[in-house]
Symmetry: C2
Amino acid sequence: MSVDLKRDLAAAQARVEARLDRALHHDRGDLADAMRHAMIGGKGLRGFLVTESARLHGVAEDDAVHAACAVEALHAYSLVHDDLPCMDDDDLRRGQPTVHRKWSEAVAVLAGDALQTLCFELLAEAPNAVAMVRSMAEAAGRGGMVGGQMRDIAAETAAEPLSLEEITLLQAGKTGALLTWAASAGPRMAGADEGALLEYGQCIGLAFQIADDILDVEGDAGTVGKAVGKDEAAGKATFVSILGLDEAKRRAADIVDVAVSALSVYGEDAAKLRELAHFVISRKS
Amino acid sequence: MSVDLKRDLAAAQARVEARLDRALHHDRGDLADAMRHAMIGGKGLRGFLVTESARLHGVAEDDAVHAACAVEALHAYSLVHDDLPCMDDDDLRRGQPTVHRKWSEAVAVLAGDALQTLCFELLAEAPNAVAMVRSMAEAAGRGGMVGGQMRDIAAETAAEPLSLEEITLLQAGKTGALLTWAASAGPRMAGADEGALLEYGQCIGLAFQIADDILDVEGDAGTVGKAVGKDEAAGKATFVSILGLDEAKRRAADIVDVAVSALSVYGEDAAKLRELAHFVISRKS
Protein backbone atom coordinates (compact mmCIF):
# COMPACT_ATOMS: atom_id res chain seq x y z
CA MET A 1 0.00 0.00 0.00
CA SER A 2 1.33 3.43 -0.93
CA VAL A 3 2.01 6.00 1.75
CA ASP A 4 -0.80 8.10 0.25
CA LEU A 5 -3.46 5.37 0.44
CA LYS A 6 -2.38 4.52 3.96
CA ARG A 7 -2.77 8.18 4.92
CA ASP A 8 -6.16 8.42 3.18
CA LEU A 9 -7.51 5.32 4.91
CA ALA A 10 -6.30 6.59 8.28
CA ALA A 11 -7.87 10.00 7.61
CA ALA A 12 -11.22 8.41 6.68
CA GLN A 13 -11.13 6.25 9.81
CA ALA A 14 -10.30 9.32 11.94
CA ARG A 15 -13.35 11.14 10.53
CA VAL A 16 -15.52 8.10 11.26
CA GLU A 17 -14.26 7.96 14.84
CA ALA A 18 -14.84 11.69 15.29
CA ARG A 19 -18.43 11.24 14.05
CA LEU A 20 -18.83 8.33 16.47
CA ASP A 21 -17.60 10.50 19.34
CA ARG A 22 -20.23 13.09 18.45
CA ALA A 23 -22.94 10.41 18.38
CA LEU A 24 -21.87 8.89 21.73
CA HIS A 25 -21.17 12.26 23.28
CA HIS A 26 -23.64 11.90 26.14
CA ASP A 27 -23.18 8.18 26.69
CA ARG A 28 -21.22 6.80 29.61
CA GLY A 29 -20.72 3.31 30.94
CA ASP A 30 -20.05 -0.19 29.64
CA LEU A 31 -22.46 -0.08 26.70
CA ALA A 32 -20.92 3.02 25.11
CA ASP A 33 -17.40 1.82 25.97
CA ALA A 34 -18.07 -1.53 24.29
CA MET A 35 -19.49 0.22 21.22
CA ARG A 36 -16.37 2.40 20.97
CA HIS A 37 -14.09 -0.60 21.50
CA ALA A 38 -15.81 -2.42 18.63
CA MET A 39 -15.47 0.52 16.24
CA ILE A 40 -11.92 1.62 16.93
CA GLY A 41 -8.79 0.19 15.35
CA GLY A 42 -10.30 -1.09 12.13
CA LYS A 43 -8.88 -0.51 8.66
CA GLY A 44 -11.81 1.76 7.89
CA LEU A 45 -12.13 0.24 4.44
CA ARG A 46 -15.92 0.57 4.24
CA GLY A 47 -15.97 4.13 5.51
CA PHE A 48 -13.28 5.05 3.00
CA LEU A 49 -15.31 3.52 0.16
CA VAL A 50 -18.25 5.72 1.14
CA THR A 51 -16.12 8.86 1.38
CA GLU A 52 -14.29 8.23 -1.87
CA SER A 53 -17.37 7.29 -3.93
CA ALA A 54 -19.07 10.38 -2.46
CA ARG A 55 -16.17 12.57 -3.58
CA LEU A 56 -16.45 11.17 -7.13
CA HIS A 57 -20.09 12.33 -7.15
CA GLY A 58 -19.60 15.74 -5.61
CA VAL A 59 -21.09 14.90 -2.20
CA ALA A 60 -19.45 17.05 0.48
CA GLU A 61 -17.31 15.30 3.07
CA ASP A 62 -19.46 16.63 5.92
CA ASP A 63 -22.54 15.12 4.30
CA ALA A 64 -20.86 11.79 3.52
CA VAL A 65 -19.46 11.21 7.00
CA HIS A 66 -22.82 10.06 8.42
CA ALA A 67 -23.01 7.18 5.95
CA ALA A 68 -19.30 6.39 6.38
CA CYS A 69 -19.77 6.08 10.13
CA ALA A 70 -23.04 4.17 9.62
CA VAL A 71 -21.45 1.43 7.53
CA GLU A 72 -18.58 1.06 9.99
CA ALA A 73 -21.11 0.77 12.84
CA LEU A 74 -22.99 -1.93 10.94
CA HIS A 75 -19.75 -3.75 10.21
CA ALA A 76 -18.66 -3.49 13.85
CA TYR A 77 -21.99 -4.92 15.08
CA SER A 78 -21.60 -7.89 12.73
CA LEU A 79 -18.10 -8.60 14.04
CA VAL A 80 -19.17 -8.38 17.70
CA HIS A 81 -22.00 -10.86 17.16
CA ASP A 82 -19.91 -13.06 14.87
CA ASP A 83 -17.24 -13.39 17.57
CA LEU A 84 -19.75 -14.64 20.20
CA PRO A 85 -19.18 -18.10 21.70
CA CYS A 86 -22.32 -19.44 19.99
CA MET A 87 -21.01 -18.18 16.63
CA ASP A 88 -17.27 -18.22 15.77
CA ASP A 89 -16.14 -18.05 19.42
CA ASP A 90 -13.18 -15.73 18.86
CA ASP A 91 -11.05 -14.19 21.62
CA LEU A 92 -9.13 -11.76 19.46
CA ARG A 93 -10.22 -9.09 17.00
CA ARG A 94 -8.02 -6.36 15.51
CA GLY A 95 -5.35 -7.52 17.96
CA GLN A 96 -7.63 -6.73 20.94
CA PRO A 97 -9.87 -8.92 23.13
CA THR A 98 -13.33 -9.33 21.64
CA VAL A 99 -16.22 -7.55 23.38
CA HIS A 100 -17.56 -10.67 25.10
CA ARG A 101 -14.06 -11.46 26.42
CA LYS A 102 -13.44 -7.93 27.68
CA TRP A 103 -16.95 -7.48 29.14
CA SER A 104 -19.47 -10.32 28.88
CA GLU A 105 -21.66 -12.13 26.38
CA ALA A 106 -24.67 -10.07 27.44
CA VAL A 107 -22.80 -6.82 26.85
CA ALA A 108 -21.63 -8.12 23.46
CA VAL A 109 -25.19 -8.95 22.39
CA LEU A 110 -26.46 -5.53 23.49
CA ALA A 111 -23.49 -3.54 22.12
CA GLY A 112 -23.93 -5.24 18.75
CA ASP A 113 -27.66 -4.49 18.84
CA ALA A 114 -27.02 -0.83 19.71
CA LEU A 115 -24.42 -0.53 16.93
CA GLN A 116 -26.96 -1.70 14.36
CA THR A 117 -29.43 0.87 15.69
CA LEU A 118 -26.71 3.54 15.51
CA CYS A 119 -26.17 2.70 11.85
CA PHE A 120 -29.76 3.60 10.98
CA GLU A 121 -29.72 6.64 13.29
CA LEU A 122 -26.77 7.96 11.27
CA LEU A 123 -28.29 7.10 7.89
CA ALA A 124 -31.31 9.23 8.78
CA GLU A 125 -28.87 12.20 8.62
CA ALA A 126 -27.46 11.27 5.19
CA PRO A 127 -28.42 12.91 1.89
CA ASN A 128 -31.14 10.86 0.18
CA ALA A 129 -31.78 9.28 3.58
CA VAL A 130 -34.72 7.04 2.65
CA ALA A 131 -32.81 5.38 -0.19
CA MET A 132 -29.81 4.99 2.09
CA VAL A 133 -31.89 3.30 4.81
CA ARG A 134 -33.70 1.06 2.35
CA SER A 135 -30.53 -0.10 0.58
CA MET A 136 -28.70 -0.67 3.86
CA ALA A 137 -31.57 -2.78 5.19
CA GLU A 138 -31.33 -4.86 2.03
CA ALA A 139 -27.55 -5.24 2.28
CA ALA A 140 -27.52 -6.01 5.99
CA GLY A 141 -30.55 -8.22 6.49
CA ARG A 142 -31.82 -11.69 5.67
CA GLY A 143 -31.12 -11.32 1.94
CA GLY A 144 -27.64 -9.86 2.50
CA MET A 145 -25.11 -10.05 5.32
CA VAL A 146 -27.16 -11.94 7.92
CA GLY A 147 -28.43 -14.28 5.21
CA GLY A 148 -24.81 -15.05 4.30
CA GLN A 149 -23.90 -15.71 7.93
CA MET A 150 -26.86 -18.05 8.19
CA ARG A 151 -25.63 -20.01 5.15
CA ASP A 152 -22.21 -20.14 6.79
CA ILE A 153 -23.68 -21.71 9.94
CA ALA A 154 -25.76 -24.17 7.93
CA ALA A 155 -22.62 -25.22 6.00
CA GLU A 156 -20.92 -26.30 9.24
CA THR A 157 -23.41 -29.09 9.80
CA ALA A 158 -24.05 -29.94 6.13
CA ALA A 159 -23.24 -33.46 4.96
CA GLU A 160 -21.33 -32.24 1.88
CA PRO A 161 -18.74 -29.44 1.77
CA LEU A 162 -19.92 -26.39 -0.19
CA SER A 163 -19.28 -26.05 -3.90
CA LEU A 164 -17.50 -23.05 -5.41
CA GLU A 165 -20.85 -21.60 -6.48
CA GLU A 166 -22.29 -22.01 -3.00
CA ILE A 167 -19.28 -20.35 -1.35
CA THR A 168 -19.47 -17.49 -3.83
CA LEU A 169 -23.15 -16.97 -3.03
CA LEU A 170 -22.55 -17.21 0.71
CA GLN A 171 -19.72 -14.68 0.58
CA ALA A 172 -21.62 -12.30 -1.70
CA GLY A 173 -23.98 -11.95 1.26
CA LYS A 174 -21.67 -12.24 4.22
CA THR A 175 -18.87 -9.92 3.06
CA GLY A 176 -19.86 -8.64 -0.35
CA ALA A 177 -23.19 -6.96 0.38
CA LEU A 178 -21.77 -4.37 2.77
CA LEU A 179 -18.68 -3.59 0.68
CA THR A 180 -20.90 -3.18 -2.38
CA TRP A 181 -23.23 -0.92 -0.42
CA ALA A 182 -20.29 1.22 0.69
CA ALA A 183 -18.78 1.49 -2.79
CA SER A 184 -22.10 2.59 -4.28
CA ALA A 185 -23.08 4.94 -1.45
CA GLY A 186 -21.65 8.00 -3.24
CA PRO A 187 -23.88 7.88 -6.34
CA ARG A 188 -26.81 6.82 -4.13
CA MET A 189 -26.46 9.93 -1.97
CA ALA A 190 -26.12 12.04 -5.13
CA GLY A 191 -29.11 10.36 -6.83
CA ALA A 192 -26.77 9.33 -9.69
CA ASP A 193 -26.27 6.05 -11.57
CA GLU A 194 -24.77 3.39 -9.29
CA GLY A 195 -23.90 0.86 -12.01
CA ALA A 196 -20.13 1.21 -12.26
CA LEU A 197 -19.55 1.36 -8.52
CA LEU A 198 -21.91 -1.55 -7.86
CA GLU A 199 -19.78 -3.68 -10.18
CA TYR A 200 -16.59 -2.40 -8.57
CA GLY A 201 -18.00 -3.16 -5.11
CA GLN A 202 -19.12 -6.67 -5.99
CA CYS A 203 -15.67 -7.45 -7.40
CA ILE A 204 -13.67 -6.14 -4.49
CA GLY A 205 -16.09 -7.90 -2.11
CA LEU A 206 -15.34 -11.23 -3.73
CA ALA A 207 -11.60 -10.51 -4.01
CA PHE A 208 -11.59 -9.47 -0.36
CA GLN A 209 -13.01 -12.80 0.74
CA ILE A 210 -10.63 -14.84 -1.40
CA ALA A 211 -7.78 -12.82 0.15
CA ASP A 212 -9.22 -13.57 3.60
CA ASP A 213 -9.14 -17.28 2.89
CA ILE A 214 -5.55 -16.94 1.69
CA LEU A 215 -4.60 -15.02 4.86
CA ASP A 216 -6.15 -17.77 6.97
CA VAL A 217 -3.62 -20.15 5.39
CA GLU A 218 -0.56 -17.90 4.89
CA GLY A 219 -0.91 -15.23 7.57
CA ASP A 220 0.13 -15.26 11.21
CA ALA A 221 -2.24 -14.25 14.01
CA GLY A 222 0.01 -11.43 15.25
CA THR A 223 -0.08 -9.60 11.91
CA VAL A 224 -3.64 -10.53 10.90
CA GLY A 225 -4.98 -9.46 14.31
CA LYS A 226 -7.25 -12.50 14.72
CA ALA A 227 -6.89 -16.27 14.88
CA VAL A 228 -5.70 -17.99 11.66
CA GLY A 229 -5.79 -21.58 10.41
CA LYS A 230 -9.34 -21.91 11.70
CA ASP A 231 -10.95 -22.87 8.40
CA GLU A 232 -8.68 -25.84 7.78
CA ALA A 233 -8.93 -26.99 11.39
CA ALA A 234 -12.72 -26.89 11.06
CA GLY A 235 -12.62 -28.76 7.75
CA LYS A 236 -14.42 -25.82 6.17
CA ALA A 237 -14.64 -25.45 2.39
CA THR A 238 -13.02 -22.16 1.30
CA PHE A 239 -11.86 -20.65 -1.99
CA VAL A 240 -8.40 -21.96 -1.13
CA SER A 241 -9.50 -25.49 -0.22
CA ILE A 242 -11.42 -25.79 -3.49
CA LEU A 243 -9.16 -23.89 -5.90
CA GLY A 244 -5.77 -24.36 -4.28
CA LEU A 245 -3.56 -21.46 -3.22
CA ASP A 246 -2.15 -20.53 -6.64
CA GLU A 247 -5.46 -20.62 -8.50
CA ALA A 248 -7.16 -18.66 -5.70
CA LYS A 249 -4.52 -15.94 -6.03
CA ARG A 250 -4.90 -15.90 -9.81
CA ARG A 251 -8.69 -15.55 -9.59
CA ALA A 252 -8.46 -12.77 -7.01
CA ALA A 253 -6.09 -10.85 -9.31
CA ASP A 254 -8.45 -11.34 -12.29
CA ILE A 255 -11.39 -10.08 -10.26
CA VAL A 256 -9.43 -7.01 -9.22
CA ASP A 257 -8.77 -6.33 -12.91
CA VAL A 258 -12.52 -6.35 -13.54
CA ALA A 259 -13.04 -4.01 -10.59
CA VAL A 260 -10.46 -1.60 -11.99
CA SER A 261 -12.04 -1.71 -15.48
CA ALA A 262 -15.42 -0.80 -14.00
CA LEU A 263 -13.86 2.46 -12.81
CA SER A 264 -12.95 3.62 -16.33
CA VAL A 265 -15.96 5.98 -16.48
CA TYR A 266 -14.36 8.03 -13.71
CA GLY A 267 -10.97 8.39 -15.45
CA GLU A 268 -8.06 9.63 -13.36
CA ASP A 269 -10.38 10.73 -10.56
CA ALA A 270 -10.74 7.11 -9.44
CA ALA A 271 -7.03 6.53 -8.86
CA LYS A 272 -7.49 5.91 -5.15
CA LEU A 273 -10.25 3.35 -5.66
CA ARG A 274 -8.00 1.61 -8.22
CA GLU A 275 -5.18 1.39 -5.73
CA LEU A 276 -7.61 0.20 -3.06
CA ALA A 277 -8.73 -2.68 -5.28
CA HIS A 278 -5.12 -3.85 -5.54
CA PHE A 279 -4.61 -3.39 -1.81
CA VAL A 280 -7.57 -5.66 -1.03
CA ILE A 281 -5.66 -8.70 -2.29
CA SER A 282 -2.18 -7.66 -1.16
CA ARG A 283 -3.07 -6.79 2.45
CA LYS A 284 -1.45 -8.68 5.32
CA SER A 285 -4.25 -8.15 7.82
CA MET B 1 -61.15 -6.70 27.95
CA SER B 2 -64.29 -6.05 25.90
CA VAL B 3 -65.13 -8.27 22.95
CA ASP B 4 -64.59 -5.25 20.69
CA LEU B 5 -61.07 -4.47 21.91
CA LYS B 6 -60.14 -8.14 21.71
CA ARG B 7 -61.35 -8.19 18.11
CA ASP B 8 -59.52 -4.95 17.28
CA LEU B 9 -56.23 -6.18 18.73
CA ALA B 10 -56.56 -9.46 16.83
CA ALA B 11 -57.33 -7.59 13.62
CA ALA B 12 -54.29 -5.32 14.06
CA GLN B 13 -52.08 -8.33 14.73
CA ALA B 14 -53.48 -10.10 11.63
CA ARG B 15 -52.58 -7.06 9.48
CA VAL B 16 -49.08 -7.04 10.97
CA GLU B 17 -48.65 -10.73 10.19
CA ALA B 18 -49.92 -10.24 6.64
CA ARG B 19 -47.39 -7.42 6.16
CA LEU B 20 -44.69 -9.71 7.55
CA ASP B 21 -45.67 -12.43 5.08
CA ARG B 22 -45.29 -9.94 2.24
CA ALA B 23 -41.85 -8.91 3.50
CA LEU B 24 -40.65 -12.51 3.92
CA HIS B 25 -42.35 -13.68 0.75
CA HIS B 26 -39.16 -14.87 -0.96
CA ASP B 27 -37.42 -16.15 2.14
CA ARG B 28 -37.13 -19.83 2.93
CA GLY B 29 -35.24 -21.72 5.59
CA ASP B 30 -34.46 -21.50 9.28
CA LEU B 31 -33.76 -17.78 9.41
CA ALA B 32 -37.13 -16.75 7.97
CA ASP B 33 -38.90 -19.46 9.99
CA ALA B 34 -37.30 -18.22 13.20
CA MET B 35 -38.25 -14.62 12.35
CA ARG B 36 -41.87 -15.68 11.78
CA HIS B 37 -41.90 -17.75 14.96
CA ALA B 38 -40.72 -14.73 16.95
CA MET B 39 -43.38 -12.43 15.49
CA ILE B 40 -46.41 -14.65 15.63
CA GLY B 41 -48.70 -15.15 18.60
CA GLY B 42 -48.09 -11.85 20.37
CA LYS B 43 -50.77 -9.56 21.71
CA GLY B 44 -49.94 -7.06 18.98
CA LEU B 45 -50.24 -4.20 21.46
CA ARG B 46 -47.55 -2.03 19.84
CA GLY B 47 -48.85 -2.55 16.33
CA PHE B 48 -52.34 -1.67 17.51
CA LEU B 49 -51.07 1.54 19.13
CA VAL B 50 -49.53 2.56 15.79
CA THR B 51 -52.69 1.74 13.83
CA GLU B 52 -55.01 3.46 16.29
CA SER B 53 -52.92 6.62 16.71
CA ALA B 54 -52.64 6.73 12.91
CA ARG B 55 -56.42 6.54 12.57
CA LEU B 56 -56.82 9.45 14.99
CA HIS B 57 -54.62 11.52 12.66
CA GLY B 58 -56.17 10.48 9.37
CA VAL B 59 -53.30 8.23 8.23
CA ALA B 60 -54.67 5.45 6.01
CA GLU B 61 -54.44 1.90 7.31
CA ASP B 62 -52.40 0.79 4.29
CA ASP B 63 -49.85 3.51 5.03
CA ALA B 64 -49.74 2.81 8.77
CA VAL B 65 -49.22 -0.94 8.47
CA HIS B 66 -45.50 -0.60 7.63
CA ALA B 67 -44.81 1.15 10.93
CA ALA B 68 -47.12 -1.23 12.85
CA CYS B 69 -45.19 -4.22 11.50
CA ALA B 70 -41.87 -2.39 12.09
CA VAL B 71 -42.48 -1.86 15.80
CA GLU B 72 -43.60 -5.46 16.25
CA ALA B 73 -40.41 -6.63 14.47
CA LEU B 74 -38.29 -4.46 16.76
CA HIS B 75 -40.14 -5.78 19.80
CA ALA B 76 -39.76 -9.38 18.60
CA TYR B 77 -36.00 -8.92 18.10
CA SER B 78 -35.65 -7.60 21.65
CA LEU B 79 -37.51 -10.62 23.06
CA VAL B 80 -35.42 -13.12 21.07
CA HIS B 81 -32.16 -11.59 22.31
CA ASP B 82 -33.52 -11.07 25.85
CA ASP B 83 -34.40 -14.77 26.09
CA LEU B 84 -30.84 -15.90 25.20
CA PRO B 85 -28.95 -17.98 27.79
CA CYS B 86 -26.48 -15.13 28.37
CA MET B 87 -29.39 -12.76 29.07
CA ASP B 88 -32.58 -13.97 30.84
CA ASP B 89 -32.19 -17.61 29.76
CA ASP B 90 -35.86 -18.30 29.09
CA ASP B 91 -37.25 -21.48 27.54
CA LEU B 92 -40.79 -20.27 27.02
CA ARG B 93 -42.25 -17.22 25.31
CA ARG B 94 -45.91 -16.68 24.42
CA GLY B 95 -46.43 -20.29 25.44
CA GLN B 96 -43.97 -21.52 22.78
CA PRO B 97 -40.32 -22.57 22.96
CA THR B 98 -37.97 -19.59 22.58
CA VAL B 99 -36.00 -19.31 19.33
CA HIS B 100 -32.72 -20.57 20.80
CA ARG B 101 -34.53 -23.57 22.28
CA LYS B 102 -36.34 -24.42 19.06
CA TRP B 103 -33.31 -23.78 16.80
CA SER B 104 -30.01 -22.72 18.36
CA GLU B 105 -28.34 -19.75 20.01
CA ALA B 106 -26.65 -18.79 16.75
CA VAL B 107 -29.98 -18.75 14.92
CA ALA B 108 -31.50 -16.69 17.75
CA VAL B 109 -28.71 -14.08 17.52
CA LEU B 110 -29.09 -13.84 13.74
CA ALA B 111 -32.89 -13.91 13.68
CA GLY B 112 -32.95 -11.09 16.24
CA ASP B 113 -30.43 -9.14 14.17
CA ALA B 114 -32.46 -9.64 11.00
CA LEU B 115 -35.66 -8.57 12.77
CA GLN B 116 -34.06 -5.28 13.78
CA THR B 117 -32.97 -4.75 10.18
CA LEU B 118 -36.50 -5.59 9.01
CA CYS B 119 -37.88 -2.89 11.31
CA PHE B 120 -35.88 -0.19 9.53
CA GLU B 121 -36.60 -1.70 6.10
CA LEU B 122 -40.31 -1.29 6.86
CA LEU B 123 -39.97 2.21 8.30
CA ALA B 124 -38.39 3.33 5.02
CA GLU B 125 -41.85 2.67 3.50
CA ALA B 126 -43.76 4.68 6.10
CA PRO B 127 -45.09 8.22 5.61
CA ASN B 128 -42.58 10.75 6.95
CA ALA B 129 -39.99 7.96 6.77
CA VAL B 130 -36.93 9.91 7.90
CA ALA B 131 -38.63 11.09 11.11
CA MET B 132 -39.88 7.56 11.70
CA VAL B 133 -36.39 6.07 11.31
CA ARG B 134 -34.78 8.74 13.47
CA SER B 135 -37.30 8.43 16.30
CA MET B 136 -37.20 4.63 16.24
CA ALA B 137 -33.39 4.65 16.44
CA GLU B 138 -33.69 6.89 19.49
CA ALA B 139 -36.34 4.68 21.14
CA ALA B 140 -34.57 1.40 20.38
CA GLY B 141 -30.90 2.19 20.92
CA ARG B 142 -28.46 3.02 23.67
CA GLY B 143 -30.59 5.87 25.05
CA GLY B 144 -33.82 3.84 24.91
CA MET B 145 -34.62 0.13 24.97
CA VAL B 146 -31.09 -1.31 24.81
CA GLY B 147 -29.92 1.28 27.34
CA GLY B 148 -32.67 0.08 29.70
CA GLN B 149 -31.68 -3.55 29.21
CA MET B 150 -28.09 -2.63 29.98
CA ARG B 151 -29.19 -0.97 33.27
CA ASP B 152 -31.15 -4.14 34.03
CA ILE B 153 -28.03 -6.28 33.61
CA ALA B 154 -25.92 -3.91 35.68
CA ALA B 155 -28.54 -4.04 38.46
CA GLU B 156 -28.09 -7.80 38.80
CA THR B 157 -24.52 -7.42 40.01
CA ALA B 158 -24.96 -4.13 41.86
CA ALA B 159 -24.23 -4.07 45.60
CA GLU B 160 -27.47 -2.24 46.46
CA PRO B 161 -30.96 -3.05 45.12
CA LEU B 162 -32.35 -0.34 42.84
CA SER B 163 -34.40 2.53 44.20
CA LEU B 164 -37.88 3.34 42.91
CA GLU B 165 -36.43 6.18 40.81
CA GLU B 166 -33.80 3.91 39.29
CA ILE B 167 -36.36 1.22 38.41
CA THR B 168 -38.61 3.85 36.86
CA LEU B 169 -35.73 5.15 34.72
CA LEU B 170 -34.68 1.62 33.74
CA GLN B 171 -38.21 0.67 32.71
CA ALA B 172 -38.80 3.93 30.86
CA GLY B 173 -36.04 2.70 28.53
CA LYS B 174 -36.57 -1.04 28.54
CA THR B 175 -40.34 -1.14 28.06
CA GLY B 176 -41.51 2.45 27.90
CA ALA B 177 -39.54 3.79 24.95
CA LEU B 178 -41.06 1.45 22.39
CA LEU B 179 -44.63 1.74 23.69
CA THR B 180 -44.26 5.53 23.66
CA TRP B 181 -42.88 5.43 20.13
CA ALA B 182 -45.84 3.30 19.00
CA ALA B 183 -48.45 5.51 20.67
CA SER B 184 -46.99 8.64 19.06
CA ALA B 185 -46.38 7.09 15.62
CA GLY B 186 -49.72 8.35 14.25
CA PRO B 187 -49.11 12.09 14.69
CA ARG B 188 -45.48 11.57 13.66
CA MET B 189 -46.53 10.04 10.33
CA ALA B 190 -49.05 12.85 9.88
CA GLY B 191 -46.53 15.55 10.80
CA ALA B 192 -48.88 16.61 13.65
CA ASP B 193 -48.29 17.46 17.32
CA GLU B 194 -47.23 14.36 19.27
CA GLY B 195 -47.63 15.83 22.77
CA ALA B 196 -50.82 14.16 23.99
CA LEU B 197 -49.94 10.72 22.66
CA LEU B 198 -46.38 10.93 23.97
CA GLU B 199 -47.80 11.48 27.45
CA TYR B 200 -50.33 8.67 26.98
CA GLY B 201 -47.53 6.36 25.77
CA GLN B 202 -45.22 7.15 28.66
CA CYS B 203 -48.01 6.46 31.15
CA ILE B 204 -49.13 3.17 29.68
CA GLY B 205 -45.46 2.12 29.35
CA LEU B 206 -44.95 2.60 33.07
CA ALA B 207 -48.33 1.04 33.97
CA PHE B 208 -47.49 -1.90 31.70
CA GLN B 209 -44.29 -2.61 33.58
CA ILE B 210 -45.89 -2.33 37.01
CA ALA B 211 -48.53 -4.78 35.79
CA ASP B 212 -45.74 -7.09 34.57
CA ASP B 213 -44.17 -7.09 38.02
CA ILE B 214 -47.59 -7.85 39.53
CA LEU B 215 -48.11 -10.73 37.06
CA ASP B 216 -44.71 -12.13 38.01
CA VAL B 217 -46.05 -12.46 41.56
CA GLU B 218 -49.74 -13.25 41.00
CA GLY B 219 -49.83 -14.94 37.58
CA ASP B 220 -49.25 -18.57 36.64
CA ALA B 221 -46.90 -19.56 33.83
CA GLY B 222 -49.61 -21.33 31.82
CA THR B 223 -51.72 -18.19 31.51
CA VAL B 224 -48.88 -15.66 31.33
CA GLY B 225 -47.09 -17.67 28.62
CA LYS B 226 -43.65 -17.33 30.20
CA ALA B 227 -41.94 -18.19 33.46
CA VAL B 228 -43.18 -16.34 36.57
CA GLY B 229 -41.75 -15.78 40.05
CA LYS B 230 -38.35 -15.13 38.50
CA ASP B 231 -37.85 -11.65 39.96
CA GLU B 232 -38.31 -12.73 43.56
CA ALA B 233 -36.18 -15.86 43.05
CA ALA B 234 -33.42 -13.62 41.67
CA GLY B 235 -33.78 -11.16 44.55
CA LYS B 236 -34.50 -8.44 42.01
CA ALA B 237 -35.95 -5.10 43.04
CA THR B 238 -39.29 -4.48 41.29
CA PHE B 239 -42.18 -2.08 41.69
CA VAL B 240 -43.87 -4.76 43.78
CA SER B 241 -40.87 -5.51 46.00
CA ILE B 242 -40.47 -1.80 46.78
CA LEU B 243 -44.08 -0.63 46.92
CA GLY B 244 -45.86 -3.81 47.99
CA LEU B 245 -48.65 -5.40 45.96
CA ASP B 246 -51.49 -3.09 46.99
CA GLU B 247 -49.60 0.17 46.54
CA ALA B 248 -48.23 -1.04 43.18
CA LYS B 249 -51.78 -1.70 42.00
CA ARG B 250 -52.92 1.70 43.26
CA ARG B 251 -50.09 3.50 41.44
CA ALA B 252 -50.72 1.63 38.21
CA ALA B 253 -54.39 2.64 38.35
CA ASP B 254 -53.43 6.29 39.01
CA ILE B 255 -51.05 6.29 36.07
CA VAL B 256 -53.73 4.85 33.80
CA ASP B 257 -55.99 7.75 34.88
CA VAL B 258 -53.31 10.20 33.73
CA ALA B 259 -53.01 8.32 30.43
CA VAL B 260 -56.75 8.56 29.89
CA SER B 261 -56.79 12.30 30.70
CA ALA B 262 -54.09 12.91 28.12
CA LEU B 263 -56.51 11.61 25.49
CA SER B 264 -59.12 14.29 26.20
CA VAL B 265 -58.06 16.33 23.12
CA TYR B 266 -59.31 13.48 20.94
CA GLY B 267 -62.75 13.26 22.57
CA GLU B 268 -64.87 10.19 21.81
CA ASP B 269 -62.56 9.17 18.95
CA ALA B 270 -60.04 7.86 21.45
CA ALA B 271 -62.40 5.38 23.14
CA LYS B 272 -60.31 2.39 22.06
CA LEU B 273 -57.07 3.85 23.39
CA ARG B 274 -58.87 4.59 26.67
CA GLU B 275 -60.00 1.02 26.97
CA LEU B 276 -56.53 -0.19 26.05
CA ALA B 277 -55.03 1.82 28.91
CA HIS B 278 -57.31 0.02 31.35
CA PHE B 279 -56.54 -3.33 29.73
CA VAL B 280 -52.81 -2.81 30.24
CA ILE B 281 -53.21 -3.19 34.00
CA SER B 282 -56.00 -5.77 34.00
CA ARG B 283 -54.40 -8.24 31.58
CA LYS B 284 -53.61 -11.80 32.69
CA SER B 285 -50.76 -12.39 30.23
